[in-house]
């Protein structure tokens, strides 16, 4: 005899393939249809933007691209948003990548952003219009890419002594002393701040061994699931700002008036969250109605 299932039972035990199907339809539809959603910014991201925006020309920022392709969707847009903003302001960047699969992505991001900065563009933020004149981004002048070395905690400590200690040459094999922007740049003392874009526990090392020991301003770009874990460091002042997941990247794009892949992705993420919430509500309605029916039936 087949057991009769009412609608609430079905809501409770919906085949997960329906969830997958509904989610993929919503993801594809919101990605294909081009519309903009308003992004509200948060103080955690504003503090990063304001600090970086206040840097004068030729200052140096160290950006650590400490993530693998796993976290590409969330963290790559952050890299694009932050790096493009800094290069527009002619701030120089030292890149490192202490994650094994990071260098190839960092290299790819550098190539892409360099290309996009060749054209003139007008940005409008903080109530001011900024005219950017397209320019060539030059290795060794606008940036230095140190590449990857294993044992990140040691590398972070070593860079506090001298960048040349662990990286006598850059990623492309040029000795650091031959790069114009590295003249007189010894260690973190010559760096305005460190921005760690990370999808793992390398962030802990940047906080403990980097900021804790060398006391530089540290800003974090993390995946969505990591954010809550690092709030204590924001409260204690060890971290100056946190960008969390795609939302953090979209907020940075909004602040820098440079809509890109994060704001595009936020459409998908927002509606995907709606779908998840809808299914949670359905599941709970099914749960409560089934329980009520059971109690009514005296079971």
């Amino acid at each position: 005899m087949t057991e009769h299932k009412n609608i609430f039972d079905k809501m409770m035990t919906l085949d997960r393939r329906w969830v997958f199907l509904f989610l993929i339809i919503v993801c594809v539809a919101t990605y294909v249809v081009d519309f903009e959603i308003p992004i509200n910014t948060e103080p955690e991201v504003e503090s990063i933007f304001n600090f970086l925006d206040s840097l004068p020309e030729n200052d140096i920022v160290l950006i650590a691209i400490d993530y693998d392709p796993n976290n590409l969707a969330e963290l790559h847009p952050m890299t694009y948003a932050v790096v493009e903003h800094l290069w527009r302001k002619k701030v120089k960047i030292i890149f490192t990548s202490l994650s094994q699969l990071g260098p190839a992505m960092a290299d790819q991001a550098i190539r892409d952003i360099s290309d996009s900065l060749k054209v003139d563009k007008t940005y409008n933020y903080n109530g001011v219009e900024h005219n950017f004149k397209g320019r060539e981004i030059v290795n060794g002048v606008d940036y230095t890419f140190l590449g990857f070395k294993p044992y990140y905690a040691l590398i972070i400590l070593g860079m506090g002594q001298d960048f040349r200690l662990n990286f006598p040459s850059d990623y492309y094999g040029t000795p650091l002393d031959d790069l114009p922007m590295m003249q007189g740049v010894i260690n973190y003392d010559q760096v305005a701040c460190v921005v760690d874009l990370s999808g793992g526990n390398i962030t802990d090392a940047w906080i403990s061994y980097g900021q804790g020991r060398f006391n530089f301003p540290l800003m974090l770009g993390l995946t969505g699931v990591m954010v809550s874990q690092y709030y204590p460091f924001l409260g204690s002042g060890q971290v100056s700002g946190i960008m969390g997941g795609l939302l953090g990247a979209a907020q940075y794009e909004e602040l820098a008036d440079n809509p890109g892949r994060a704001k595009d992705g936020m459409r998908v993420q927002l509606y995907a969250h709606y779908v998840i919430i809808l299914f949670i509500i359905l599941g709970n309605i099914g749960y409560f109605m089934t329980r009520r029916n059971r109690l009514k039936g005296g079971n």
Partner: protein, 270 residues
Amino acid sequence: MKRQLPFLLVFIFGAFMTIQYYIPHESSEFVYTFLLDWTMIIGIFALALGIWSLYQVSVEKIKHKKENWVYSYVTLFGLFIMVVLGFTFKVGDSWGLYSVFVIALMAFLYCLINASIAKSKGLWFGLSGVALVVLLGIAYFDDSWGVAFMTSEGLRNTMFTNFADFVMTPILATMFALLAFFIASAAYRAFRARNVLASLLLVSAIIVMLRFNPYMPFGLPELIAELSNWLMNVPNLAAQRAIVIGIGLGIVATSLKVILGIERGYMGKG
């Protein structure tokens, strides 16, 4: 002595690294830098050991035809071929005999792996020799591609970059993207208001998910954003801080036990 010496070394260097943190003197910094160098050197040996171990485990798996043994070939091919291909780059317009070189390289590895597990070792060694001659011949005579060890020209145009951009990155990104579907399914099944604690978790999760929702009326987005910020900055902060402090104290206690020779697990047996 065999056991005492490692304990002594751990005590001396552990104690030094703790104390030097508080001594901002040039000589202390010098020893500290020197020790960091040593740590890197020792670490490299660990890396070599890891590669050897991976090779051994994979060959054993092939030898005894354990479950999914075929994938061990993929592991070994990936490991060694990437090392070689990672440094090759195109010189002219075409890749010339590069594809033959790749096939010869795979054949060489296949024969070499079989030579270490098969009974007729001579045959496999002979075949691997032939493959080696072919691949070295192509590498020597074919001018349409070159080999670059960490040079600017090579790294900008290597097979390594191609593999990273067009194979590794899409594969890993896709694998991780699939997680979204499992999270959606898991959320649907797990987030049920069964009791007070589960209800709290459910409501908190929905508030945090909705914190950037711009479409709700009557100032609700602001209210939800404020609620979400409160959740992150008060209950979450308190719990995370307790965890961080607990972990910190645990690390200090464990480090002290290692330095003082109470914890000896790193020595292996005994």
